[in-house]
Subunit: 191 residues, 2 copies
């Protein structure tokens, strides 16, 4: 007899694909397990059995597309330019109302759910931060400097501004932030 | 006839005092308007009429104590030392389970409530960030550098680490962060 808990890969992909499509079309708040099941041609019970609930399936759908897109930064040989590009891309994500609402919703749920918080960190956030860390290492940041700290110096202010709405969050902000971080890590890191 | 919407200053103070005491004793989640009213010797209806609900009275209680404590940073003539002290104090606040839970709860509510988010920013957060900005200005940060950005360079990584639990949040982290920000703003700022 087949194990009902064993995931079928093509159903899994269809469900995650449907989740991403519905997130883009209707947003997180109006997303339902029923709508995902209907779009994917799967049973609601299957989704509940495999994931448990909405936040878990959304997390996996997002983690899946991050993994597919890859998290390595381009290396043009110009660290400043490459960091500007990744920070401008993050600013653009925060400026997209649907993406921004999804991130906000997931963040609210993680604040009250330690297990989900760990999953968001390890499967969604960490791979992206590690991609930036690898680029910093390749760019010649002096080994005495803690790269985890540098990564948070780049993304912490963006999150702070987005969450607390302390001012405009635009390309100019991203560029100025990169310039200050480049000054912090010193002239030696420039490639 | 007295206007029932006009706040009586001694009742207001008693209610805010009771709110702070109960926050410290029971935490945000278990705090109720009924308990605040009982402790303050005030009517529940008074609290609802003056504030509307729990998050608003908690916000005012916290903003009130921030205003009383003052938000100016000490100026010892050593900018690095003064920034380390304020960042270490923030780390200590995040490490306090009650304070941390209150901040977390307020942050969750602000994410779904634009008006409350504006209040938290303007009455609770802005005065503290402005205090740091004033100290940076007095410390001789070159005028070409955007002080709002420098303040977020100091606090953004702390919030990022606290919210997303990406690593240890301790005095060493605060000190390393200050050192990188000092390098970013240049040698001229040192007093």
């Amino acid at each position: 007899m087949p194990d009902p808990n064993r995931r079928n890969e093509s159903s899994r992909r269809a469900i995650l694909e449907a989740t991403r499509a519905l997130l883009a079309e209707t947003g997180y708040a109006d997303l339902t397990i029923g709508a995902i099941a209907a779009r994917a041609g799967a049973g609601k019970q299957t989704i509940y059995r495999w994931w448990g609930g909405k936040s878990a399936v959304v997390l996996e759908a997002l983690a899946d597309s991050v993994a597919e897109a890859g998290t390595a930064l381009p290396d043009t040989g110009d660290l400043r330019a490459d960091l500007r590009a990744v920070l401008r891309a993050t600013v653009a994500e925060f400026a997209d109302p649907r993406l921004s609402a999804t991130t906000r919703a997931l963040m609210i749920e993680t604040m009250g759910d330690d297990a989900l918080a760990g999953q968001v960190r390890d499967r969604l956030l960490r791979p992206q931060l590690d991609g930036v860390k690898d680029r910093l290492r390749a760019g010649g940041v002096p080994p005495a400097i803690d790269l985890d700290l540098v990564v948070e110096l780049l993304f912490g202010p963006l999150y702070h501004r987005w969450l607390l709405r302390t001012g405009p969050l635009d390309d100019g902000y991203a560029d100025d932030l990169v310039d200050l971080v480049m000054a912090a890590i010193g002239e030696r890191a420039s490639g």
